[in-house]
């Protein structure tokens, strides 16, 4: 287990390094400059670019980047919020995205599990059919379509919630009220995904032989279900909840745009579009790191959650 973890961690570092290097070269080979003012004299422009080493050969720039990168320092932003350290910008943006995702997860998990269990217990009856139709619709319809519809009908027509997210820094009631709609839009997809999974797992567990045995020794249907079937069907569930989290992180990009939430997504897009290399590299790094860590945690958790699965290929 330890050896396997160490192996995977080394692989993670190498992968991360490769991703960052590739993104660095791609970003820097994009045409255009971060200075958008066309009236700026050529020599001033060159002086500014020289200050950030932008006119030197790319391999030299890469050297500078690596030197700072080894200390996790991405430098100062050059276009979005000039002269503010990238890490400081990210420190204000990451919590916003995280907040949204954690709330969405807290909302969707209980609902999804309840729906999944209900559908499995009433398999091939009316509740199951209704939930299955809902699941198909929620999985198929993209979250941004939901976001648009919620924004128009619930926020604008009915006026129950604010149309865009309030800009308050701390989590007040007003702020919470304004992020309900984006949370809802984000949650539909994950509710459907988890509910479908729970239903399938539980259906299989209910038909298994240990359930027959449990009932044979005198347990009622409810007792047998809660004590045996549910426990077993929840084991694999952990493996889809963790990747769901990063999945939402990517999916919230558009939702953030629709509800004008100042989160990570907007910084990344602005950074890339404005050729603000330090900011873009910083965001890419954190996104990649999160993605890779998720995969690693999922793989390691197989062994912890279910000891029957041996890790590392030793038989």
């Amino acid at each position: 287990m330890f050896r396997y973890t160490a192996q995977r961690l080394t692989l993670l570092v190498i992968t991360l390094f490769m991703i960052i290097s590739v993104s660095f070269f791609v970003l820097h080979s994009m045409p255009g400059s971060f200075i958008t003012d066309p009236k700026m004299p050529k020599d001033v422009k060159k002086a500014i670019e020289d200050k950030y080493h932008l006119n030197e050969p790319m391999i030299v720039q890469y050297g500078y980047f690596l030197k700072d990168f080894s200390k996790f320092d991405f430098g100062l932003s050059i276009a979005i919020q000039p002269k503010v350290p990238v890490n400081q910008i990210l420190a204000t943006k990451v919590p916003v995205s995280m907040q949204l995702n954690i709330f969405s997860l807290l909302l969707s998990l209980p609902i999804a599990i309840v729906f999944g269990i209900w559908a499995a217990l009433k398999k091939n009856k009316l509740p199951d059919h209704i939930i299955s139709i809902m699941i198909i619709a929620f999985i198929a319809i993209p979250s941004f379509v939901f976001a648009s519809l919620l924004q128009y009908f619930i926020a604008f027509k009915l006026g129950w919630f604010p149309i865009v997210v309030s800009t308050e820094k701390v989590l007040t009631w007003n702020k919470f009220k304004s992020i309900i709609l984006p949370i809802l839009a984000l949650s539909f997809g994950s509710i459907a995904g988890v509910a479908r999974y729970t239903r399938a797992e539980l259906c299989e567990a209910l038909n298994s032989e240990y359930m027959l045995l449990a009932k044979a020794k005198g347990l009622t249907q409810v007792q047998a279900t809660t004590r045996h079937a549910m426990r077993n069907s929840f084991i694999p569930l952990a493996n889809i909840i963790i990747p769901m989290f990063t999945g939402i992180l990517g999916g919230s990009l558009v939702i953030e745009k629709i509800f004008s939430i100042p989160g990570m997504g907007s910084v990344m897009l602005d950074g890339i579009n404005a050729k603000d290399y330090p900011v873009a590299m910083g965001v890419l790094f954190w996104y990649s790191l999160l993605g890779l860590l998720t995969i690693l945690i999922v793989d390691l958790s197989y062994g912890i959650i279910d000891p029957r699965i041996r890790i590392g290929g030793r038989k």
């Binding site: 692989l11 993670l12 992968t15 991360l16 490769m18 991703i19 590739v22 993104s23 791609v26 970003l27 080979s29 994009m30 198909i136 619709a137 999985i139 198929a140 319809i141 993209p142 941004f144 379509v145 648009s148 519809l149 924004q151 128009y152 604008f156 149309i163 479908r196 999974y197 399938a200 259906c203 299989e204 990517g250 990009l253 558009v254 745009k257 629709i258 997504g265 990344m268 897009l269 890339i272 579009n273 890419l284 996104y287 990649s288 993605g291 890779l292 995969i295």
Partner: protein
Amino acid sequence: MKNNTKKNIENKFEFIQLDEILKDEKFEGEAIGFFKDAMIRFRKNKASVTSFVIISFLVFMAIFGPMMNEYGFKEQNLKLTLMPARIPIIEKMGVFDGTKVMNISKDNIEGKYKGAVLQVIKEYKVKDREMATVKVDMYKYKEVKDKYFWFGTDSLGRDQWTRLWRGTRISLIISVIAMSVNIVIGVVYGAISGYYGGLVDLGMQRFIEVLNGIPFLVVIILFVLYYGPGIIPIALALCLTGWIGMSRMIRAQFYKYKGMEYVLASRTLGATDRTLIFRHILPNAFGIIITMSALAIPGAIFQESFLAYIGLGIQAPEPSIGVLLAEGQLVLLEYPHLTIFPALVISILMISFNLLGNGLRDAFDPTLRGQE
């Protein structure tokens, strides 16, 4: 040699039952092959058949929809911007009749909007100014009562009907290109990796791991930014990591079948690797390939719209469903018709393809039914 044996047999042996008629019953009915079997199961699944019909209809509209009225997809009419939807026949029922509810100053009922106001819904006051919520016939107001923009017009006065179906066409083209490239790469990669196994497999799987580790969004954004937003770059961007799922499925199939006796028999008879891969093992995966392609299309449509939303959509003036949605989002609160029609089309398209894919999976592999 062969002839000799035959002659010997003919000479020395004698059939004893030649004149007797064999009493076996004749087979009635036709033989049912793999695809026919699947088709029978597919036809029984009402949801998938319905979704197949809906998809065919949408494809038909994507091809012929833009030709159904006189407006072109980039024909601008700056006088008639953001017109509401107006559909003949249905307009008599009070929906899509080219009217719009607006808040205007009360003087304008008799002034600017004279003659076009159909109904005053309510009157109110804002700081001594008398205001009214009224229903205005926009077509009368702009004096184009003879025109019908079925789904309204966008902010440049372009006909939304034409643009919507042209957008559907482009989204479908992008997703079909992405899907086919993904299938080809996935099948070849998975086949090689699964068939040869060992060191080749190890190397190829590590490569996939690295590729999979890169956040797909980042790669796609960089790719589209670099190559520009055309149909082909966007389609190819979706292929960068899209083939991985397919290749895994195919690899698993190869692992399952390559050790089977019939493969061994064929190899003993001298079949080459190529024959074994393409003639003997790959056909077993046809069901999976067809199912995966049906399920890959909604994924590609989703990602295309996603890119459009974050500003990496197809180049103007060409529309795609995602571009239309993103444009509609900007004026959503004022002109919802620009969002609702594309949202409807994309939702129907996604649901239908998902149902079709599920139906195909059940048809090709009945053991999976009811699961997942």
